[in-house]
């Protein structure tokens, strides 16, 4: 007997289990082939939404930031308006995505705010940081070198992005573990492992997730309030909080709220995504030993390998937009006010764009994946993410060429982040 075929109408992507268990690739494939603009019905408290699964359609939406706006929320379906009041501040935060960081800002203000900081993220700036990134990478690897085994996520993959973004934000090293913990709470809020402020028997619910995200957000804002206080007295060079304090948009200084949201965004956006690309990258390379060997023997393959790792892992499952006018897409009527979710792992396996998309190929060219999004909100940190991945794999394989994943990775319970929480590895220790 074969399992009954899954119909598009059976598919509800607002379910973190599908993502924790890695069933989502199959569900996305069914939608992409049979119902590429798919209406996902509402849940008990969450809105219904359109699931967009074709590469071309994600381009279409991303290129129209005035019509498909970000200011009503960029993650998940959002909460039904009539349920908002009873679900407190956390839910409202989730719906609005915070009040004023660039990721939830629309044109024309968006680009003005982004330009305050984007000089720090250009290819030139990234290249200038490379020696420092390599130094930090080796410091991280020094700490595991004698052990022969470790939790790759906690001890390696999470440490580099944390160090880089905390360095740019002027966060002192003693506070890095706190930033790690708070990022997990905000972006992994749906996973019981991070719901440490919630009584054990109440973990795993939607409300537990909202409260956990709120707690992480508030603690982080509080922390940066202290940082700003310090920088007003002691401005620093090349320090993002200082730059934001001194910046003006349309002749006006930013409000403290704006700056706090900006700091918060940079910390969380820079952290967890890159971590998962590093962990997922090692995982998929170990699943393809011939390609791993080829890469170790020839680092000139590194650039295309990194792009393929990004395509393959797609560290963010989706970004959301809200339509401001009626739009017809593939014969479906998207109405003003409707939420759309753009599923990046699906675009990145779209047969119309990528030949043989389910084959991992470190030599794949061209490879115009959408792991960093595209258009108005294209990932500000893409250059840093790429450089961190490259330096990490170069140094990791130079020092531990026989590193292997030795147990099943523990995956994050999230519809938003393609996360790995723990992944045991073994390697020959350095003497």
């Amino acid at each position: 007997m074969t399992a009954p075929a899954i119909e598009p109408s059976d598919i509800n992507l607002n379910n973190p289990e599908h993502f924790q268990r890695e069933e989502f690739h199959e569900l996305l494939r069914i939608l992409r082939h049979r119902d590429p603009v798919h209406w996902n019905p509402p849940g008990e408290v969450s809105n219904g939404f359109w699931s967009i699964t074709k590469y071309e359609d994600i381009l279409f939406i991303s290129r129209r930031p005035e019509i498909f706006i970000s200011s009503k929320g960029i993650a998940g379906p959002g909460i039904k308006p009539e349920r908002l009041a009873e679900l407190d501040f956390a839910a409202q935060q989730q719906n609005a995505g915070g009040n004023a960081s660039i990721i939830t800002m629309d044109p024309p203000r968006h680009v003005k705010m982004r330009r305050l900081v984007n000089k720090g993220f250009t290819p030139r700036a990234v290249n200038a940081m490379e020696p420092e990134i390599r130094r930090v990478t080796n410091e991280i690897l020094d700490r595991i070198a004698h052990k022969g085994e470790c939790d790759f996520v906690l001890e390696v993959a999470s440490q580099l992005p944390l160090a880089v973004i905390c360095g740019m934000m002027g966060v002192e090293q003693k506070d890095w573990p706190l930033m790690f913990e708070l990022t997990n709470k905000v972006l992994g809020s749906g996973d019981p492992e991070y719901q440490t402020d919630i009584p054990e028997e109440e973990r795993g619910t939607g409300q537990a997730a909202r409260l956990t995200a709120m707690k992480g957000l508030q603690t982080m804002l509080e922390y940066f309030r202290g940082v700003l206080e310090d920088r007003r007295q002691n401005p620093r060079e090349n320090d993002l909080p200082t730059i934001l304090l001194e910046a003006e948009v349309d002749g006006e200084k930013l409000t403290e709220g704006d700056i706090l949201q900006f700091c918060f965004l940079l910390i969380v956006a820079g952290n967890e995504t890159t971590r998962n690309a590093i962990s997922g990258g090692l995982q998929v390379l170990c699943q393809h030993p011939d390609q791993k060997r080829a890469l170790i023997e020839d680092y000139s393959l590194m650039d295309t390998a990194i792009e393929e790792i990004l395509r393959w892992t797609s560290p963010l499952h989706h970004m959301a937009r809200t339509a401001t006018e009626d739009v017809e897409l593939r014969g479906k009527q998207i109405r003003a006010g409707d939420r759309v979710l753009m599923w990046y792992p699906s675009a990145n396996r779209d047969e119309d764009i990528f030949p043989d998309p389910y084959r991992f190929d470190i030599r794949r060219t061209p490879n115009d994946h959408l792991a960093f999004g595209i258009g108005e909100h294209f990932c500000l940190g893409a250059g840093f993410a790429r450089k961190e991945l490259k330096v990490m794999f170069e140094e990791l394989f130079r020092r531990f060429p026989d590193i292997e994943v030795v147990g099943p990775p523990e995956r994050l319970r999230s519809t938003f982040i393609n996360g790995i929480k723990h992944m045991p590895v073994q390697f020959t220790p350095e003497r």
Binding site: R63, V111, T122, P123, F372, G375, E376, F378
Partner: protein, 64 residues
């Protein structure tokens, strides 16, 4: 067809220069410069369209 780069959007990713070096060049300030004033020769239009498609920041404008 004419080409324009919106300087306020461009962040120097250089995909345009890679796709169509005859048309784009990254300047010293990491902002892409259009090398061809006025209408593009017909044979470059396809390359311009490819650059438009690849630009991650949607900074390239094609004016028919």
């Amino acid at each position: 067809m004419k080409v324009r780069v919106k300087a306020e959007m461009c962040e120097g990713h250089g995909k345009c220069e890679k796709a169509a070096p005859e048309i784009f060049k990254l300047g010293d300030d990491d902002i892409s410069i259009v090398l061809i004033e006025g209408d593009l020769p017909k044979e470059l239009e396809e390359k311009a369209e490819r650059a438009y498609r690849l630009c991650p920041r949607q900074a390239i404008e094609l004016i028919p």
